[in-house]
Symmetry: C2
Subunit: 468 residues, 2 copies
């Protein structure tokens, strides 16, 4: 039976686009941190929306389970089947056309397999900005970005993937195609279907194309690397900067000294922009549609912040190279942690006002749990989203430390829940956090989610084992 399904799929996409060779399947079944090693019957690579629809229809008729996959960069295993090996990975990578760029309307239509980098480039070639930006942008795809409602470093001003999408084309669980590729900034003609599929991690339908919002390229940017006494001052600085830094606050990233130490130690060509060490730092960027006066306004703002103690030292980038240097300090922060042994990770958010309290409580909790451990909480303070990563104590046993992953997650997530936060601010649920969901979700909400899944995918063929 199984081979007849693969034959049927080969009839739709061509034999060369059905991969069953174990070696050739590896890149689709392993992810870069090697946290997930999956099993699948085959990798099937459709080349068009019609082919995706035909594949899903065949899967629905035969009860075959499908796991949609984009660039395979997801951090929670939503794209990797780990069950009995009967699933088929449906790779969207060949749906890689930029269908249209509408400069006057500030939109573009791209297929699911277009990488984020290519989407950014297509916008820039038309003199526009597609602001979504994240570490894996060279290989992650728009379909994956939308299916996980990706965040990144530009959410503060432009929103996450959800807010950057105006319309979708989706293959439903029965193989029908919903054409919702609307280029409309306003459309109040019924229920919002788009947002049901965004962030659903391929469990309710398969996104095949999207209308994305474009923005004017900023005429000027001012980028500052700031020393701040602590998270409370950083939060006060954030609110002051939103109101009066002289432009649109587009970046506000927090990092602790130990994170900067890791970067300076392990990332070549980096140096501390400031002369004295500080317990905490903020990377701040302000954008404007007019260059006139931006640097002066930011300098005035920082002068006041230095005077009232929200900032203790500041470096303002005076060139594009210096801007890139400042950004590198932030961008390397994830990668360098791998050189310091095991790291237990959390991707959490709390209401903005609660971020300082969360940091104090979570740091105290993990330090009590594993004396000598090294918390590296960093990330998108402007969104209340902290990547609360904890590196192992110096010289300790890596495996023994990582064995406490669940225990530590549990303790940190308990604080998050008490503060009405989220245990997955931007990475999604996937297979990694699926088992945590019943513990943190309102039962009514979980029941509604299950009802929607049963309604939209009654046979359970789309990404089983992810999210729910």
């Amino acid at each position: 039976m199984s081979s007849s399904i693969l034959d049927g799929m080969a009839g739709i996409v061509g034999a060369k686009n059905v991969i069953v060779d174990p070696d050739a399947m590896v890149p689709y079944l392993r992810e870069w941190r090697d946290l997930f090693r999956g099993k699948a019957q085959a990798i099937v690579r459709p080349g068009s929306t019609a082919e995706v629809a035909a594949l899903v229809k065949l899967a629905a008729e035969t009860g075959t389970t499908l796991v949609p996959q984009g660039g395979n960069t997801g951090l929670v295993g939503g794209q990797i089947p780990v069950a009995d090996g009967r699933e088929i990975i449906l790779s969207l990578q060949r749906l890689d056309k930029v269908r249209a760029v509408d400069v006057e309307g500030d939109t573009m239509i791209v297929e699911a397999g277009v990488t984020l980098q290519r989407a950014q480039d297509a916008a820039e070639a038309a003199g526009r900005l597609f602001p979504l930006s994240l570490a894996s942008e060279g290989s992650c795809t728009i379909g994956g970005n939308l299916s996980t409602n990706a965040g990144g470093t530009a959410v503060l001003a432009y929103g996450n993937a959800r807010e950057l999408c105006m319309g979708l084309e989706v293959v439903l669980a029965d193989g029908r195609i919903w054409n919702g590729l609307k280029q409309l900034r306003k459309d109040n003609t019924g229920y919002d279907l788009k947002n049901l599929f965004i962030g659903a991690e391929g469990t309710l339908g398969i996104i095949t194309a999207a209308v994305l919002k474009l923005f004017p390229l900023p005429a000027a940017r001012a980028t500052a690397f700031l020393a701040v006494p602590g998270p409370e001052e950083a939060l006060a600085l954030l609110n002051a900067a939103k109101a009066g830094a002289g432009g649109t606050l587009t970046t506000f990233e927090l990092m602790p000294r130990i994170g900067l130490d890791f970067v300076l130690r392990h990332a070549s060509g980096t140096r501390d922009p400031l002369s004295e060490p500080s317990p905490w730092y903020v990377l701040m960027e302000v954008s404007a549609q007019s260059a006139a006066g931006l640097d002066e306004a930011v300098e005035t703002f920082l002068g006041e912040a230095l005077e009232n103690g929200l900032v203790t030292d500041a470096a303002l980038a005076s060139s594009l190279n210096q801007r890139a240097d400042f950004w590198k300090l932030r961008e390397m922060l994830s990668e360098v942690q791998t050189y310091e042994g095991g790291s237990i990770k959390h991707d959490v958010s709390v209401p903005l006002h609660a971020t300082p309290e969360f940091l104090a409580r979570a740091i105290a909790t993990v330090e009590q749990m594993v004396p000598g451990c090294r918390p590296i909480p960093f990330g998108h303070l402007g969104d209340g989203n902290i990547h609360f990563n904890v590196s192992q104590p110096v010289g300790s046993d890596k495996a023994a430390f990582l064995a406490r992953w669940e225990e530590m997650n549990h303790a940190v997530h308990a604080i998050v829940s008490e503060m009405h936060g989220s245990i997955s601010a931007e990475h999604g649920i996937g297979r990694l956090k699926r088992y945590l969901l019943p513990g943190v979700k309102d039962p009514v909400e979980l029941d509604l989610m299950r009802t929607l899944k049963a309604t939209l995918d009654p046979k359970g063929i789309l990404n089983p084992g992810a999210v729910l």
Copy 2:
């Protein structure tokens, strides 16, 4: 049976909050333009979310149909039952608490019955901006704004009601309460339920409270009243202004000369800010978080626009009074049409790039259909949203003109559909446009909507006859 239901409801909300007196019911059954005259068994006014939940539970058990209502300002009859008089209007007006304003977190929690004006005032009292703004803000409510995904004059920069909402509290069709009042800027833990209820016009659940996003108050605004040769130049001006008017473009409203004529004729205390008449005008506002240099930047921008012919004359407000005068010209535009006889209305959107072509085709079509009719297309050009209103020919018979409402709608909507636009950009579907939906919606989308309705409100007790 019916009276036992009202007795049951009186037991929940108190007898004085069950209105059955026909005169006392009138304000809930008629809307201000008198387009809808409804019939209902009673008006029930709960005072808390728990009371709403108990009422809905009782309704579900007894198969009683409910029509939720906020400020009764909707323009498509979504809030007014017009069937056999057995429906009960569930007025949310007594849920009128501002539960919390979180200044540091830039959010506030308000109940459904809080008027938009009060929400704006509560934000401003805390030194923040709640940007949603529309003509009926003195009486429309947040619950209604969210249920209809209201638009208005600040969508260009801040988004519509959907984008201004971070979380919801909703009473489901079986009387359960979903507490989704999250104050999180990022939360990727499952399906997006919030956006399913926003814009659903009370047919999937009853919104009882919401978390709203707040923004810094702009430090400065520059407001200009501009003469433009035509819609094409207005569109080019819009794109130029988004990129380089020296701040955030927060308003870009188009109006034709005849609209200005109507305002000058009927609205006291108005005058033409420009010395020569122009076929079209734009009200443009640019906001900034720093006053320094804004006026100069806008002047430079307008100087260039005058030079390259996108603008033929310009007045920049030099005082708050003058700003108010410019805004009044735009704000009176709806009301003054009533003094010029019958008016056939359309609330449409098309992709931004298609707005000039739409205007040309729609104007030609209605002028051919009713020679001498006076098209007054105006509104939110920045969103591709045109209120395409058509006044009767001078001296013609009002009733005879209005008798052609459906025929004219049909012709205009046919153009909209050809251009992949929307027949209800911001007002919703309600009962007015319900019958138009099958003609313009993708059948797959309509089927998904019906499936969701059947899943979330299986007994069909919530706002029957609206939307679907």
